[in-house]
């Protein structure tokens, strides 16, 4: 029984991990290549979820909703890049943080005007709603397994693109020396827009997959954004591999902490004390982990440079 519970929570952790990875991959590339801090990355996650819900209701088809949601987020991301972010590349991080903070306020309110402040819930098609028996006595939702599968597949595709293609070569070159890449005649501006659009689409994918699991509401992107920062700090800026490892660590530690820390503490200290301290400690766990990693490796586990 305990093992089955542990197994299920571990899978939940992996599922949270791949969602974090989809967010972190785009953000870490944008950070690594453009040296640009984009707080509005969480807003793209939110936009993805909302567009998927709206498109699914409009077309009546979930796959079409997903496709439109992805395409829509890509367009929104590129539009934001061209309209608001380009003038900020030459500025320092402080300006970038402040401007994208303004964008978050704008997007949250815009979404609230269009779809209201209440949470939206989406119904999944029948073929995603069931459960499968993974181990004897353990049933697990098909949808969460699908999320894990899609996340790992995207991780593989990203690995392939970054390490085996010409575009990936430019991305890696951009992350290690931007000026040199530009001097060699690469259209760095276009590369920026492409990478940013990619990152936006990945954030949208994370959002539209998370939508049916958590609730779709204004501000949903900010909570995950800060967790994604923890992932990037742990993994190292600019490293897709670091983003994957960091995301899985954070996802699993957070999920297992919330599930098991309280009962475990109950064995050590008195149950009422554990009742009070357990949830508090569980919610702080990933940040303490981050502090620990920083103490040992200040530049993160993997670095692109």
């Amino acid at each position: 029984m305990t093992f089955i519970l542990f197994f299920e929570q571990l899978l939940n952790g992996v599922q949270l991990g791949v969602t974090l990875f989809l967010m972190a991959a785009g953000l870490t590339l944008v950070l690594g290549i453009m040296n640009f801090v984009n707080l509005a990355h969480g807003s793209l996650y939110m936009v993805g979820a909302y567009l998927m819900v709206a498109a699914t209701q409009w077309t009546g088809s979930y796959p079409l909703g997903v496709a439109l949601g992805l395409a829509g987020t890509l367009l929104v991301g590129m539009a934001v890049e061209v309209a608001a972010l380009r003038p900020l590349y030459a500025r320092d991080h402080l300006d970038q943080v402040l401007a994208t903070f303004g964008l978050i306020l704008f997007f949250n309110e815009l979404v609230a005007i269009i779809w209201g402040r209440a949470s939206l819930y989406t119904s999944l098609p029948a073929w995603l709603q069931g459960h499968v028996e993974l181990l004897p006595g353990s049933i697990y939702p098909v949808y969460r397994l699908t999320v894990i599968g899609v996340g790992l597949f995207v991780a593989f595709v990203l690995w392939y693109v970054v390490t085996r293609t010409r575009l990936g070569m430019l991305i890696r070159a951009g992350a290690s020396n931007r000026t040199m890449v530009a001097a060699l005649g690469v259209n760095i501006r276009l590369l920026y827009t492409v990478v940013f659009g990619f990152g936006a689409a990945l954030a949208g994918l994370a959002g539209l997959m998370a939508g049916p699991i958590y609730s779709v509401q204004p501000g949903m992107g900010e909570l995950i954004l800060i967790q994604v920062f923890v992932v990037i700090v742990i993994g190292g800026i600019g490293s897709v591999r670091g983003a994957l490892v960091g995301a899985l660590i954070v996802g699993i530690v957070d999920t297992l902490g919330r599930a098991f820390l309280k009962p475990l503490l109950g064995h050590v200290i008195s149950p009422p004390a554990a009742e009070a301290a357990g949830p508090a400690l569980a919610s702080m766990l990933i940040y303490l982990l981050m502090a620990l990693v920083l103490a040992v490796k200040p530049a993160g586990l993997f670095t692109s440079r």
Binding site: L31, N35, V37, A84, P87, L88, R91, H93, L94, D95, V97, L98, A99, F101, G102, L103, I104, L105, F106, F107, N108, E109, L110, A112, I113, E222, I226, F229, V230, I232, V233, I237, A276, P279, A280, S283, M284, Y287, L288, M290, A291, L294, A295, P298, A299
Partner: protein, 315 residues
């Protein structure tokens, strides 16, 4: 120099004259508004010490508002209403928290520093949310304001003047610090770290000390804020709060002494205007839709801040 002294004098006189005028006009609301603005100005002044003069882009200054607020709130909850004890705990507690956060984060720089200070503040936010005994997510009402001998904070006018006095004291402390030897090293490390190292200064202890001082002042602002609202919630530490305080500093002008104060007034007055005074109901209801782009534009085109209008920088 002379114009600036006159401006400062006029500003202080204006603030000092506000309570009798507001009460005479039967508008005690303004007392409340300006008191709140001055409390945030203290937070912005303290952030300016590390952000403006120290070059440390801390996206977690709301943490100290929260620690200060919780120190007062928790002591009051357990029946300790003595203001000296409460405010001492608020200042000491946030200095300790700043020491812990600073010790880890100042070893890094750039984007890492931004993300780490943000992450630690979010950790404290979640800690506040999970403290069920003290109201958890919903927060809790403060039974009574901090009690001091001779001074009665329950009187709104007295409380106003206490906040005004502490704000002026904060400006003075930061002014003294920045112009001391300590402040010189801090500013030197900001403008050229390699050179500061070369002439024999290790910036780390100076930065950490500035970080702790700023945290302690932020804790004082938190103690004032919880007395002002009489209500304690984890929202004191919400990450958007940190962003707002940062905006106050930038809007007013970084590394200037008047900047954070001017910025706090400008930011909160614009916020108040958009959310309550604009005659269009749509704008009032969705004021953030307008505040957001306004902030983006101010970053893009209003780089030097309000203090930049008056020309030269103090720092």
């Amino acid at each position: 120099m002379k114009t600036r002294a006159i401006l400062w004098g006029a500003f202080v006189l204006l603030l000092a004259a506000l309570p009798p005028v507001a009460l005479e006009l039967g508008q005690p609301f303004y007392l409340d508004l300006v008191r709140r603005i001055m409390i945030f100005a203290i937070a912005a002044i303290s952030l300016n010490l590390i952000l403006g003069y120290g070059g440390m882009v801390s996206f977690g200054h709301a943490a100290y508002l929260g620690v200060g607020g919780y120190a007062v709130g928790i002591l009051a909850f357990h029946g300790f209403d003595n203001g000296l004890l409460q405010w001492g705990a608020a200042i000491g507690g946030s200095a300790l928290v700043a020491l812990a956060i600073g010790a880890v984060s100042i070893r890094t720089s750039g984007v890492y520093f931004i993300m780490i200070t943000l992450a630690f503040t979010q950790m404290l936010y979640y800690l506040g949310v999970s403290l069920e005994e003290y109201g958890g997510d919903d927060g809790m009402r403060l039974r009574t304001r901090s009690e001091f001998p001779l001074v009665d904070l329950k009187d709104p006018v007295t409380f106003y003047y206490v906040v005004l006095g502490l704000m002026l004291l904060s400006i003075f402390i930061v002014f003294k610090l920045v112009n001391s030897r300590f402040g010189m090293v801090l500013r030197a490390a900001k403008s050229n770290e390699a050179r500061a190292l070369a002439i024999g200064f290790s910036p780390y202890p100076y930065r950490l000390a500035a970080f702790v001082i700023a945290g302690a002042m932020g804790g004082l602002a938190g103690a004032l804020l919880v007395n002002h609202t009489s209500y304690l919630t984890p929202d004191f530490m919400h990450w958007t709060r940190s962003g707002e305080i940062m905006f106050m500093v930038i809007l007013g002008g970084m590394a200037t002494h008047a900047g954070p104060v001017a910025g706090a007034f400008a930011f909160l007055l614009v916020e108040d205007m958009l959310s309550a005074w604009v005659p269009l109901a749509f704008v009032r209801e969705h004021w953030q839709l307008f505040l957001g782009p306004l902030l983006v534009l101010s970053v893009l085109f209003f780089r030097r801040g309000l203090a930049g209008i008056f020309g030269k920088h103090d720092g």
